[in-house]
Symmetry: C2
Subunit: 354 residues, 2 copies
């Protein structure tokens, strides 16, 4: 959980010119997490706002069910904050489905100006960073960031329909079912759950991994690259960086990322949302969780509560994404990786929302 700059000189020179956006007035004021059944049985099940009983949520298809997850997350966020949807100035949302339709179809009913985002499973971090930027610059007062993923919808789109019962290799990850909505606001220190401190958008890196059942390895270089740039830009003492979370590198990707960080001069012990969403003793998700909702569910159910509870003073979430499609891997292409890092800080005042 500690980030140590062993030899900052060892970083590639290009890192020095990479932008890290810093914020003085961007606050997370609320979050709502709606999880699927398997996610509800995991170690964070108690901390979700809603756990769905099944994968269809009363809809006829998995894709419609994912849109319903998206909708429920936003509705629950509004309910928790005592706000209407019109109290949000902007909706930044994305998901893994083709043409990000889970987000778009949920946004039909949101009646909030909508910008669609796509960074695969790093979409939540991209949204959080851009929302903080737009709020802190006082373009808007309040932004909703919503992401979702759905296990069955994603599997049949990216790999095989789950009805086939195809055997998955040990490096495969389990796409999480769920949706998370987070409110980011300006001028809200008195109501804040956490302060958004900084955002480093990442470069697309491709280390020529071609196996869509091994996304951890494909994303690890991008995660290390973004984390090195982000931690360098923060310039914090080694013992104050707090928890460093990757999105969904899982069991295969985490050691690769840590090794690459060490080679760049950073000794960082990484925690991974994909490794904390499920219970390895009772839930066989192979290498770990993934999906756009994965890092967002852990953010809402663990990182944010731990920050508020004082477990750590700061937390970095480095969302990770595989930017391939079925078409690209069927055409023999490798899998480009992306990672975006956002660091949040505990709000010291005792008058936060309970």
């Amino acid at each position: 959980m500690e980030a140590t700059a062993v030899a900052r000189e060892a970083l590639p020179p290009s890192l020095a010119t990479r932008p890290t956006l810093r914020f003085e007035d961007a606050w997370v004021t609320g979050s709502a997490a709606v999880a699927g059944p398997a996610e509800g049985r995991g170690p964070l099940g108690h901390a979700f706002d809603e756990v769905c009983a099944d994968h269809l949520l009363g809809r006829r298809t998995w894709e419609r069910a994912e849109s319903e997850l998206h909708r429920r997350a936003l509705d629950r966020l509004c309910g928790k904050l005592g706000l209407g949807r019109s109290d949000f100035d902007l909706l930044l949302a994305g998901d893994l489905l083709n043409q990000t339709v889970a987000s778009a179809f949920a946004a039909r009913e949101a009646d909030i100006p909508f910008c669609g985002l796509y960074s695969a499973c790093a979409t939540f971090a991209e949204g959080l960073g851009l929302a903080a930027a737009l709020c802190a610059a006082h373009y808007v007062r309040r932004v909703a960031v919503v992401v979702s993923s759905h296990h069955d919808a994603a599997e049949r789109q990216y790999r095989f329909p789950t009805e086939l019962g195809s055997q998955r290799p040990p490096t495969a990850q389990w796409t999480a079912t769920g949706a998370v909505a987070v409110a980011v606001e300006a001028g809200a220190v008195d109501r804040a759950l956490a302060k958004v401190l900084a955002f480093t958008p990442g470069r697309v890196l491709d280390y020529l991994v071609k196996d869509p059942f091994n996304m951890g390895a494909a994303m690890a270089p991008a995660a290390a690259d973004t984390l090195a740039a982000h931690l360098a830009a923060l310039g914090l003492p080694a013992d104050s960086c707090g928890a460093v979370y990757t999105g969904d590198l899982a069991r295969v990707g985490v050691p690769v990322c840590e090794e690459l960080l060490r080679a760049a001069g950073w000794s960082v012990q990484v925690r991974d949302c994909g490794s904390e969403l499920y219970d390895p003793a009772h839930q066989d998700v192979h290498a770990g969780g993934s999906g756009a909702a994965c890092s967002a569910l852990v953010f809402a159910a663990r990182i944010l509560p731990d920050l508020r509870g004082g477990t750590y003073a700061r937390a970095c979430l480095c969302g990770t994404g595989s930017l391939h499609s079925p078409t690209t891997y069927q055409q023999g292409e490798s899998i480009p990786g992306i990672a975006h890092a956002v660091t949040l800080e505990r709000v010291a005042r005792g008058n936060g929302r309970p």
Copy 2:
């Protein structure tokens, strides 16, 4: 081309609370347009930086060709500005392919921090608006906005492979082949081609059009909604709004949009990028052009030159997008529409880049 507030009171009350982001220090400093063969034969052919001789650009697949278009647009932008790719702080990019892979695969080589966007054919306007916001707030100095679309790649993904030779109905639009890269900068008034004045992100509206061969009708309500909010927020006198362009409503969507605007109290004569990209006398594209590149190609080859040449003092580009996927229309869903509006202003000083 004139926007007249006939009765601003007739606008829905919710419009008053819609955000329009205004910028003091966001400038378009360069653009590069790479067009496909049909687009090159159109009325703007002479104004593109490159017209490709064929649809494959030496690649084995249309999807790879689209990535190549994307890459060439960014390279030509760098060449025209005398900059390296590392002179850009951020790349905002998107396209129509599943998982926006044309952008992601081109970004592998860009070595610029990358945020993926998706608003279908309104992606260019979303990118331009967000780039201006991030520059004007001085988070970054220089952003590249790149979008692309490819006729054959889009047709086989959304509708039918072009080899089938399926007959298209008269309301169908022709997905443009091309890519455009635009540079947006802060602190660049002396080098500016145009100033980015304001950005209104739009709501997702769905008027229950279900025909993917009639996207103009599906997108028209969103365009009218965003334009009404945008023009109201600008608060300019009727004769100074300049040209008002929609992205790709084409022959079917433009009259619907104008009618809806009139009902909301705005008498606006809309020009449409989808109607100006091809020559109706010699190119049968049915209702008109479409695709993420469509509005961007017309922006680079007509709107920006006309602004600089003094044809009008301001120009509004209202990008329009259909947020469906093949899965959603095969599941019987209607087509949600989105529109984002950006207004640019002529830079009066005579010392702009020639």
